[in-house]
Symmetry: C2
DNA sequence: CGTCAAATTGAATGGGGTCAAGCGGCGTGG
DNA sequence: CCACGCCGCTTGACCCCATTCAATTTGACG
């Protein structure tokens, strides 16, 4: 998303440029409406770069903003009191980070860049003080929150699976759905380490590794370090206990019929 | 909450009555501001009763509302494609249900009453169409969403624990924190079955039962069916791998320092 | 008192955690 | 340029804990 490097890290001053630069973005409509509603400061000049390993925010921070990932990838982690580090989510381009600060005003998790990334800040405090301006903007915001709620649900959905193989298959399936916007690419480059995957899935590091090789032995995927190619999408879905496909089925929590 | 039976299931017509009836409610401020902002229809006449076992909404429904639990208790479940039923959350008086419909407009989970309950509908579609009215109302709404996001986080936090004993201890601890507003009661009446608990914790029914009796043998709790009395709060917290207490510590995800 | 569902308890199996060793890439420094 | 060492990943072996199947007890309600 936002493949125009000349616009990165710089204010998007006018609406036409915004429309071109953000065309493939999932939040394009939101930004366009914000700009159209006379609130260009909500989307302009807020993009910032983040080097791999650095934190976007830490526990206790609270600038009153949420962030949209432009490129790269982030993880959100919660350090438990016994020292263990829980990975609560991965955030790919076009997705939100930082909604955890909405309740108390301060973040209760930490966001770390898994790769060199760029994020776009949405100042919620400004947006609240001046009102949403237009009802459509409020509706979009609500949808954003709903979408992240679904994200959280999908994490729970993964953690509820008893068998490690199911969790891993479902994880890969979800990642493929999120990383591949439309086209039929089945190539994934995992931005996170095996340990991060393990701590997201609630498994041991070794179990994840074993699960990957087992999937490879079964001819479902092809693993080379952090590069994963999905060979048999149908079988992957079957191992994740998902419905047989029906063209291109999304997450079970997203479909409603 | 809302201990005045004469106001139940009937419109709360004026502000003073609302203030008395909802005094102990966590959402009192929200409702009062809604009423004060000239939007009494947001809180009045929307209370409805629900018999135990009945559904507040099913997958696919979408009235554009979220609900506040007045009394009783609900659970939200997601039926997975393989027939298994995941319990995604329990909802006690003063808590929200149904935010899952915000993204798509249709619910992707089902809400079932665990006991005879009464809920208060908050018509989000109306609230969106007319705008929030006052900025304070929007801020409160955001806090509500943030709060439910924290709820979801705490579920993930539970599911990430490897040992069944930790999950059960943490579950009981969380439930005690939520069910006991202020006073020092350590008596809990679980509105849900052991099977519901198991499907919330990602464990087998029998494992939950064994965990309860083990906690009782250790002198931490006292179990009699669905009545649970917490004997040693400190030890319960220790078993849940929570910090030693520090007066009255909340969920680890709620504290930020 | 009888019936049924919920809950407890027991015994056996297996999957995943843990510990430990081996492998490969990559950057640093000699 | 190569060697070393570090780090991430893989693989192996063992053991424990949770699941599973099964039987029994308790409790609610007619």
């Amino acid at each position: 998303l936002w493949q125009h490097p000349e616009t990165m890290s710089r204010p998007i001053s006018d609406l036409s440029l915004l429309r071109r630069a953000c065309a493939p973005c999932t939040l394009r409509q939101f930004c366009q409406q914000a700009a159209g509603a006379g609130a260009p400061e909500l989307v302009a000049g807020k993009a910032q770069s983040l080097a791999r390993g650095n934190s976007l925010f830490r526990v206790g921070d609270g600038e009153g903003s949420v962030y949209i990932v432009r490129n790269g990838a982030l993880k959100t982690v919660a350090v438990t009191e016994d020292g263990a580090e829980h990975v609560l989510g991965f955030h790919l381009p076009g997705e939100l980070v930082g909604l955890d600060s909405l309740a108390t005003g301060a973040h209760c998790v930490e966001a770390v860049a898994l790769a060199d990334s760029q994020v776009c800040a949405v100042p919620m405090n400004v947006l609240l003080a001046r009102g949403t301006g237009t009802p459509a903007l409020g509706r979009d915001l609500l949808q954003l929150f709903g979408r992240t709620a679904l994200e959280s649900h999908s994490h729970v959905d993964v953690l509820m699976r008893r068998q490690a193989g199911e969790r891993i298959a479902l994880f890969l399936h979800n990642l493929l759905q999120r990383a591949r916007p439309v086209d039929g690419t089945t190539e994934l480059h995992l931005p996170m380490s095996r340990e991060d995957v393990a701590r997201y899935l609630g498994l041991a590091l070794e179990t994840v590794s074993r699960g990957f090789t087992k999937l490879q032995d079964e001819g479902v995927i092809l693993v080379a370090g952090r590069s994963v190619r999905i060979i048999d999408t149908a079988q992957l879905r079957q191992l994740a206990l998902l419905p047989p496909s029906e063209d291109e089925g999304g997450s079970p929590l997203e479909r409603h019929a």
